[in-house]
Symmetry: C2
Subunit: 333 residues, 2 copies
């Protein structure tokens, strides 16, 4: 079969590899679609723990179950999505030491076939296309845990989602909107992304390229935020702290701008802020997210769809941060 294999540092190649026998307790999927995550790019660039070469990348995907090596055969022939968690462990608060994510070190979704443990598979919510189905597992799970579990979202909260256009940020916006948040602010470096976000339900959009954007944010919101999802960190983080309402929660799920220089700790304790790290989510979070997506008919935002062979164009688009929503690979019809 054809698959996108990490051959060596920086070398992601489309090549033919052999499928082994299907292990017991596993299902074999014929993959229809897969979605890119920044994680895939970090792995290619060597910026990830315990990288192994010869592995098929890809954490997100949608496929048809074509074979099952287990007694329970109910999913045979079904269109399924894959829970990308592996071995979260028993502690709902945090993943255990042996936790991994699909697509490193085990083979992932960027391939014509994928063998995964049967218990990782869920029928796709009926309202989703193949592309939308591939688009939600990793980013949708991260946003779900950040907003609802770590963030303890409440309808009365003014919500801020930074860096709108990224996968997690968009799910955060969509979930907050579907949950009845009265005020949702977003930030971006691009005016057109703010406008797209407002079509999705954002009530205030602020460019973070301007000086003192946190003051504009507070002025337009008529106050600060109660709950923020941030995947940026870096220099803007102290402006978040300045824009926060007392007792606000800032959920940090990533750091595209890296470490925070000179963290303003005085405001953290005087305002009694909660800064909470979050990554991915437990299996229980994944199931709760699936129910939420089905119940609220959340349609993930798909930015672009590339055929598998054009994976380099897809990665290039993600590297340039031009996207608004998820970038999807079409593997088969």
């Amino acid at each position: 079969m054809n698959a996108l294999v990490l051959e060596s540092l920086g070398q992601l190649v489309l090549k033919t590899i052999e499928l082994g026998p299907l292990p017991e307790g596993y299902a074999r999927l014929r993959m229809l679609t897969a979605a890119l995550n920044h994680r895939d790019e970090w792995i290619v660039q060597g910026q990830y723990a315990k990288i192994q070469y010869g592995v098929v990348l890809g954490a997100d995907g949608c496929g048809i179950v074509v074979e099952i090596n287990a007694a329970d055969r109910r999913l045979l022939g079904q269109r399924v999505v894959i829970n990308p968690n592996q071995n979260w462990g028993a502690d709902h608060r945090v993943q255990g030491n042996s936790y991994t994510i699909l697509g490193m070190p085990t083979h992932g979704t960027f391939a014509e076939y994928l063998d995964v443990p049967l218990d990782r598979l869920y029928p796709v919510p009926a309202h989703l296309s193949d592309e939308e189905a591939a688009a939600f597992p990793l980013a949708g799970l991260t946003a779900y845990r950040a907003l609802f579990v770590q963030g303890q979202f409440h309808q009365s909260n003014t919500v801020l989602v930074t860096g709108i256009g990224g996968g997690v940020a968009l799910f955060g916006l969509q979930y907050a909107k579907a949950s009845g948040a009265c005020a949702i602010a977003v930030t971006s470096g691009a005016q057109w992304k703010l406008e797209r976000a407002q079509q999705l339900g954002a009530t205030v959009g602020v460019l973070y390229t301007g000086d003192a954007w946190e003051q504009e944010l507070r002025r337009r919101l008529g106050g600060g935020f109660d709950l923020c999802l941030d995947g940026i960190c870096g220099e803007p983080f102290n402006r978040l702290i300045a824009a926060a309402n007392p007792a606000a929660r800032i959920i940090v799920y990533g750091a595209t701008l890296g470490v925070v220089p000179k963290l303003d700790v005085h405001r953290i304790f005087w305002k009694q802020l909660h800064i909470i790290g979050s990554t991915m989510g437990s299996d229980a979070d994944f199931e709760a997210m699936l129910r939420f997506i089905a119940e609220h008919r959340i349609s993930p935002v798909v930015d672009a769809v590339f055929p598998l062979e054009r994976y380099q164009d897809a990665f290039e688009r993600m590297r340039k941060r031009e996207q608004f929503g998820k970038i999807v690979l079409r593997i088969a019809e």
Copy 2:
């Protein structure tokens, strides 16, 4: 009466001032003892919001009620401590905009007499001396909220208290010990403070002056901490993050070393850490703390007692950070 008055920037002087008529709803205390806090020094140095000159400093104190201008006269003649909170507000999560602390901008405890609202007064727990009674309100309240309210202490937690010897840190250690914490680690820059802390129940003491002290801490604890009270911040903060167990809570109540350079956000989200700011505590926290101190017969650690006239020696001792416990002024017998 004699009182320590902030005359101008840097000028704290012992002088005679007039007592006005006692307002309605107020009680007049003849002060017995008062305790110093770093806050008092920051105010003297101009490092505090909304400083007014001509104000008597002091947030902590113990006195005898000598006059009451209210119908409820039950506390007349009683030995009382003062809840230093003023106008916390209705939100238990955080103080409101009109919140202040006794001793700026209203007159504080460094005086022979003090007029305060009657509802700020509580009988001193019987097991406490006058000096111990003055020593606990501000630091004891801060530690109580940090450990139990924001920190959600549980007996199974491994607790770390940084900068042992400071008032809040010592209460944190004593409360955790009294609550049955199985493992309590402390850090300090002085070996003798670690030894004193071990006499108070600390199970591990580590000098933070050494290289890689966070590794020594983990080695001696046989793992990381689940809950940390930190009033230091600064460069060591990233070492705290490194020493934290997954899902740990770090409660920040101060920043004697100032801002954190280059906050290590990646570990925060990967470990799903909670960094929570805390300051003082609500009136409900104050009452819960009083019950806790009485029930567990907590005796605050008093470092030294100076007569009021020697206030400059007392402040000098605090500035040099030589103390282990609270520095108390004796005002009257």
